[in-house]
């Protein structure tokens, strides 16, 4: 389960730290105490930044770092596709063997395929992704209100 890719992201997280954003959320995994505070910054439909602070296990921390790598700079629609794919992979109970197309879409995130075999850890891997989804919804709700 602890692929080198995951350990690398854990030891050297990408984009960590809180920066300016359109919306901020705080998510907690009550069963293990993993926490994340996450902000999203949009330029139109384009993700300008995802910044975060958190504490937790290597899986939740590395996953946030991978998320930052993957989503920043993408359009919302594309990001949602990636999020959906990652969710599917994590819920596969180890049954999905990532193919080339998936590797291309998920890049480093395919390293989490092994985590999906451990039900107790799937929530850790998903923590930042759920936070991102939630923050995005809030950002656009804000925008709709002010528009």
């Amino acid at each position: 389960m602890y692929q080198d890719v995951i350990l690398d992201h854990y030891k050297n997280p990408h984009g960590r730290g809180l920066r300016d954003g359109d919306a901020e959320v705080h998510h907690v995994n009550p069963t293990c105490g993993d926490e994340i505070t996450l902000r999203v910054k949009y330029e139109g439909e384009r993700i300008a930044d995802v910044s975060y602070e958190g504490q937790g296990c290597s899986i939740s921390q590395a996953s946030a770092s991978v998320l930052n790598d993957l989503l920043v700079g993408k359009d919302l629609a594309e990001a949602q596709k990636i999020q959906g794919l990652f969710l599917e992979l994590m819920q596969s109970k180890g049954r999905i063997e990532p193919d080339d197309a998936m590797e291309e879409a998920l890049e480093d995130a395919v390293a989490f395929a092994g985590v999906s075999k451990y039900p107790a850890r799937v929530k850790c891997a998903l923590l930042s992704w759920m936070a991102w989804k939630d923050a995005t919804a809030q950002a656009f709700a804000e925008e709709a209100k002010t528009a």
Partner: protein, 422 residues
């Protein structure tokens, strides 16, 4: 390391004991021998208990009480015989004081509900107070929160000292004339702390409060004498003491069981029923609605036989020696911080710790890959984690079949964890 290990005396013959536990032969992750250090969560089950369970179903299975056929009489004798065994095991003055539940949680909820529906002088209502501690298992917190929400009673608790003990400095302000019940854990499942029963019981008796002791982590590990404890109720659970899942015990003083109202209603707990009203059977049956966990009680009886054959004194000593050794060895691990008493005195055989800022989930997972089973998380005692400002701990917990070599494996494993995430 081997030097330290060789000096250990007072250990049980674990080589012989381990042969009774089939699961300890289990290989995990292909070829690793299981090192099971999660005994505070649940214990393993010896062949002797499994044989009794199998024999029950293959020879005697029937519903208990009131049957006039052979199987029903045998099943009843086995079930009630198990009650005798448990009563003797905890030195209960009467077998009728032993109530079978499904687990310790039900036992604790049972008391909370009895008191919520009781008449004076036991009734918990808005003018009264309930006292627990900050080191309770959730199963000894939530029932009292529910009771206090539903009755308006005030919930109070003893806090903790920095070294993982109860802070009893203001005991006279915490336990007052308004206190109806004090419910506390004998040995903490997260800190390992063994609590000073006498002092708490004395103060409770002074103000006429009842005392409920959660002995879930004590009954499996040391001689338990409910009369010596001086409590009014004692709760524990079968699966932590070599018994099956699905069985718990509540011991309560006879007068109280007579006076207090029933909780679950149904078959077995009644004396006579009409559509308009019912009367209840005497305790313990009054508190055992429906078909009881028959085979589970019988299995717990067999577990108690097994424990007695080895001797609870010897088990306590074995675990004490192991715990002392473990504390010593864990101190060697850099960045390891024991959460709870960091000596082997007045504590049980569960040791919680943190390892630098490596998350316990990671510690547990990497240990698991080495075949070492520990528990990680808040151990159903989240207020303790809040108190010490940590999200979770890693916990190793021992039992009669645990060995110094397993502790060495744990320590080696922790070194590996540190290197892995270092």
């Amino acid at each position: 390391m081997t030097a330290a290990r060789q000096g250990l005396t007072g250990l049980l013959d674990t080589e012989a004991i381990r042969k009774d536990f089939p699961v300890l032969e289990r290989l995990v992750h292909d070829d690793r021998k299981l090192v099971y250090l999660d005994n505070a969560a649940t214990s393993q089950t010896p062949r002797q208990v499994l044989d009794v369970l199998a024999e029950y179903y293959e020879q005697h299975n029937a519903n208990v009480h009131r049957g006039v056929h052979v199987l029903a009489e045998e099943a009843t004798a086995l079930y009630e015989g198990a009650r005798d065994k448990i009563a003797a095991f905890i030195n209960a003055p009467s077998r009728d004081e032993v109530i079978f539940t499904k687990n310790a949680s039900e036992s604790l909820n049972l008391v909370a509900n009895m008191l919520g529906w009781a008449d004076e002088p036991y009734r918990v209502d808005q003018d009264t107070e309930v006292v627990i501690t900050e080191m309770e298992h959730h199963s000894n917190i939530v029932p009292w929160q529910l009771l206090s929400q539903r009755t308006g009673a005030k919930l109070k608790w003893f806090g903790l000292t920095d070294d993982g003990r109860l802070d009893l400095s203001s005991i006279d302000e915490v336990i007052t004339e308004k206190t109806k019940i004090v419910s506390f854990v004998l040995v903490s499942n997260i800190l390992g702390t063994a609590n000073p029963v006498e002092q708490i019981v004395r103060r409770a008796q002074e103000v006429g409060a009842l005392v409920l002791i959660d002995a879930s982590q004590a009954a499996p590990h040391m001689p338990l004498d409910v009369q010596a404890l001086g409590a009014d109720f004692v709760a524990f659970t079968g699966h932590k003491m070599l018994g099956p899942t699905g069985i718990g015990v509540l011991w309560g003083r006879q007068e109280l069981l007579e006076d207090l109202p029933p909780f679950l209603g149904g078959g077995e707990m009644i004396e006579t029923v009409s559509m308009h009203s019912s009367t209840y059977a005497p305790a313990p049956h009054k508190f055992e609605a429906g078909t009881p966990p028959i085979s589970q009680a019988v299995g717990l009886g067999a577990a108690v036989d097994y424990l007695n054959a080895i001797g609870m004194d010897k088990i306590a000593q074995h675990e004490h020696v192991l715990t002392r050794y473990a504390v010593e060895r864990l101190r060697e691990v850099p960045d390891l911080r024991i959460i709870g008493p960091d000596t082997a005195e007045d504590r049980g055989a569960a040791i919680s710790f943190t390892l630098g800022d490596i998350h316990p989930h990671d510690v547990g997972q990497v240990l698991d890959e080495l075949g070492i089973a520990v528990r990680v998380g808040h151990h159903c005692a989240r207020p303790v984690c809040l108190r010490y400002g940590i999200p979770a701990t890693t916990r190793a917990s021992f039992y009669l079949y645990s060995t110094p070599a397993e502790i060495d494996a744990l320590v080696d494993g922790l070194e590996h964890v540190r290197n892995f995430f270092g």
